[in-house]
């Protein structure tokens, strides 16, 4: 079946530094979505990428979708304590309606 791999599993970041989390799918995706789950909370939608090579920005967050529509990345600049949480990518296969979630990257921030 379709699988989405996400690395790293944990990211410990000094406040003010940048970091990137990566997702890779075993199959071509119709779109990829990113979610953030705060500690004790539920996943909240951040963004959706649909087009090959697409790049979207939300303030300090930059999302990319690969040319082959099989990989994606989330880059956060100048990390803040509000960035703490787990970031999940979720891929929608071209022939399916069900999202396949990556394992998530749990981010902690050192002040």
């Amino acid at each position: 079946g379709q699988q989405v791999m996400q690395i790293p599993q944990y990211q410990h970041v000094q406040e003010g530094e940048d970091f990137t989390t990566y997702c890779n799918s075993s199959t071509t995706l119709s779109n990829i979505q990113w979610y953030k789950q705060r500690p004790g909370g539920h996943p909240v939608f951040l963004i959706q990428l649909v087009k090959s090579g697409e790049v979207k920005k939300q303030k300090r967050l930059t999302f990319q979708f690969g040319e082959a529509k099989k990989n994606s990345s989330l880059h956060i600049t100048a990390t803040q304590t509000t960035d703490v949480g787990t970031y999940f990518c979720a891929g929608l296969p071209s022939n399916d309606y069900k999202l396949s979630f990556g394992a998530g990257t749990t981010v902690t921030v050192r002040a």
């Binding site: 079946g1 979505q33 979610y35 909370g41 539920h42 996943p43 909240v44 939608f45 963004i47 959706q48 649909v50 999940f88 979720a90 309606y97 069900k98 999202l99 979630f101 990556g102 394992a103 998530g104």
Partner: protein
Amino acid sequence: SAVISQKPSRDICQRGTSLTIQCQVDSQVTMMFWYRQQPGQSLTLIATANQGSEATYESGFVIDKFPISRPNLTFSTLTVSNMSPEDSSIYLCSVYGQDKMNDYEQYFGPGTRLTVT
């Protein structure tokens, strides 16, 4: 957008018993999804619930263990039957919706935190 509520928000249950989780959406939706999130893990899809038909279960999940009801387009229940400690998880209800950017996103309920002792 969609606003989802779940009941109960948390429960502690004894092994061998069953718990029914309710999910209410503020708009009519065709598909409702039930996910399980074990401690420190990602989300795993249990089943897709369509109104008027049997739920579609993912590999590793069976109707006898996780019976689902979908009586109308805004409501669904998931029952965790004959519970064991391995069923301790967060159970999340989810639906597709369209946001202001016309992106289709999944909206999640607040989750039901289940502990089985």
